[in-house]
């Protein structure tokens, strides 16, 4: 009987195998290659670690650090003026900002906008008031002076750069006056409730317009819930502006067909002051005749906020040398919503 143990033989073979010499290693090159590979993996996994649920805590910590770093970078960039402030402007900010001022001045002129939205009637911008003695021909325009919410003075400047008409609206006292500067006549209109008395006739409105100056009325009619397209920032003059597009559509029935009239206003707002710099306006109609007549376009520009205005400019009293005229000269535009449909005349 042998005392040979099979298991001992296997163990012995394994022991001899263990004692077998092997090539010296690892080489320096292998060590360095492996370290490089692990280094590369570390970078890759740092990038993909956000996708690992297991590393949730790591992710939270990393996110916290990244937020702090990101905020610091943003603050630094904003501080050195590399961040576009328009990103944070909402139209509601503009509405609030305008309400802060007691007086506003601006000009309004018909223009034609090119494909890039630039006004292509240079005379509009050049046409200044006649008080400066400019005699150059210019596009007729109007100058608007607004005080408070209820007093508005509109001066119509003709192509000879002369003020031809002055319209003063006192919405608080329901009084509108129109002065024909050349003819030295004045028309006084009384507006109360939903009626406007002009001379011997009374116009009855289906709806009374809000009793405030036009600019405020336009701004206030844009509800906070209105979705306005925001246009990319650009320069107007030396000001960085961002655009807000407001559109309102009205249906018109002409014979048996319905057409759509679209009122569009683009508010170009100074990104630093959040105040309008220019308001581009247009009315288009898909009626063939309207298309043939091209677009009706105009712009409001040269805004001045909070300038000192003489209250006498808004007086509805008859100036010396003027004669009161009955009827005519009425500067009232039916609201876009009424579109004239609710206007009727009632003769007393």
């Amino acid at each position: 009987m042998t005392d040979f143990d099979e298991s001992d033989f296997v163990e012995e073979a394994l022991e001899r195998f263990r004692e077998r010499s092997v090539t010296e290693g690892p080489s320096e090159q292998l060590l360095s290659l492996t370290a490089e590979r692990i280094g590369a993996l570390s970078i890759q996994q740092s990038e993909s670690v956000f996708h690992s649920r297991r590393n949730f805590m790591f992710r939270v910590k990393w996110f916290g650090v990244a937020t702090v770093v990101g905020a610091s970078i943003l603050m630094a960039a904003a501080w050195i003026g590399r961040i576009d402030p328009s990103v944070s402007i909402a139209f509601a900010d503009v509405q609030k900002q305008v309400q802060k001022f007691r007086s506003i001045q601006y000009k309004e002129a018909p223009v034609v906008f090119d494909a890039e939205g630039n006004p292509q009637n240079p005379r509009a911008a050049k046409a200044e008031d006649s008080s400066k003695g400019e005699k150059a021909k210019g596009t007729p325009l109007s100058r608007h002076l607004v005080m408070g919410r209820e007093l508005e003075r509109v001066e119509t400047v003709d192509s000879d750069c002369q003020v031809s008409h002055i319209h003063i609206s006192d919405f608080k006292n329901h009084k509108l006056v129109s002065l024909d500067v050349k003819a030295k006549t004045i028309t006084i209109t009384d507006i109360s409730n939903n009626k406007i008395s002009v001379g011997e006739g009374t116009f009855v409105f289906g709806k009374i317009e809000p009793a405030s100056a036009e600019l405020y009325k336009e701004l206030n009619e844009i509800a906070s819930s209105t979705t306005m397209t925001k246009l990319p920032a650009r320069k107007i003059g030396d000001k960085q502006v961002v655009g807000f597009v407001f559109e309102k559509k009205f249906e018109q029935k002409v014979e048996q067909e319905t057409f759509t009239e679209t009122l569009k206003r683009i508010y170009w707002v100074d990104t630093s002051t959040k105040l309008p710099v220019r308001i581009d306006c247009s009315v288009t109609n898909n009626h063939p005749a309207a298309v043939a007549q091209k677009l009706v376009e105009w712009m409001k520009y040269d805004f001045v906020f909070d300038a000192e205005l003489d209250p006498k400019l808004f007086s509805t009293e008859t100036p010396e040398g003027y004669t009161v005229e009955k009827g005519g000269g009425l500067l009232l535009r039916p609201s876009a919503g009424d579109n004239g449909a609710g206007l009727s005349i009632e003769v007393k």
Partner: protein
């Protein structure tokens, strides 16, 4: 933060020796070496490594056995040059060296044929000299189960290496 160059330099020797011995080929051993540390890196992302030498030994053994199996399944035979040399500190005549090379070749084949857990336990115990307890920890099994794995591994290897078993005195006398 793990200092990987330091870890690789410190425990690289263990990984290399394990891989090189089992694979008997520098190229395969180098590949196995890298795979070992990549696997260690992956593990370190999800758990704290308490025993680096144990981990590196286990991973290197597992990767080397995987390569052995792959090589066997593909019918590849790899014999390194150093295989022809005698074990350290031993002087053997050429026929014994050749015989031993043949034994080791069959031993590798036998390990490649074993179930993975048995092969791993066998290598850790007899090639890496780990205790039953250490093997139990590394393989996440009980100590008793390590005993079972080793017993089965040795039984399988006995059959595989039967041709190399020493002849008993009794059988020599009978002859």
């Amino acid at each position: 933060m793990t200092d990987w160059p330091q870890i690789i330099a410190t425990y690289g020797g263990i990984a290399w020796k394990t891989a090189r011995r089992l694979l008997n080929n520098d190229t395969d051993a180098a590949d196995c070496f890298q795979e070992t540390f990549v696997a260690a890196f992956e593990l370190s992302r999800t758990q704290t490594i308490q025993n680096w030498p144990g981990l590196v030994t286990r991973l290197a053994t597992r990767r080397a056995l995987d390569r052995l199996r792959k090589r066997k399944s593909e019918g590849l035979v790899s014999v390194g040059l150093d295989e022809a040399t005698a074990p350290a500190g031993r002087s053997m005549p050429p026929p014994s060296v050749a015989e031993e090379n043949e034994l080791f070749h069959h031993l590798r084949e036998g390990l490649a044929e074993l179930p993975a857990d048995q092969a791993e336990a066998c290598c850790l115990r007899f090639l890496e000299s780990l205790s039953y307890e250490q093997i139990a920890i590394e393989l996440d099994v009980t100590v008793n189960h390590v005993g079972v794995l080793l017993h089965r591994a040795k039984s399988s290897l006995k059959n595989r290496l039967a041709a190399f078993a020493p002849v008993s005195d009794e059988s020599e006398v009978n002859q």
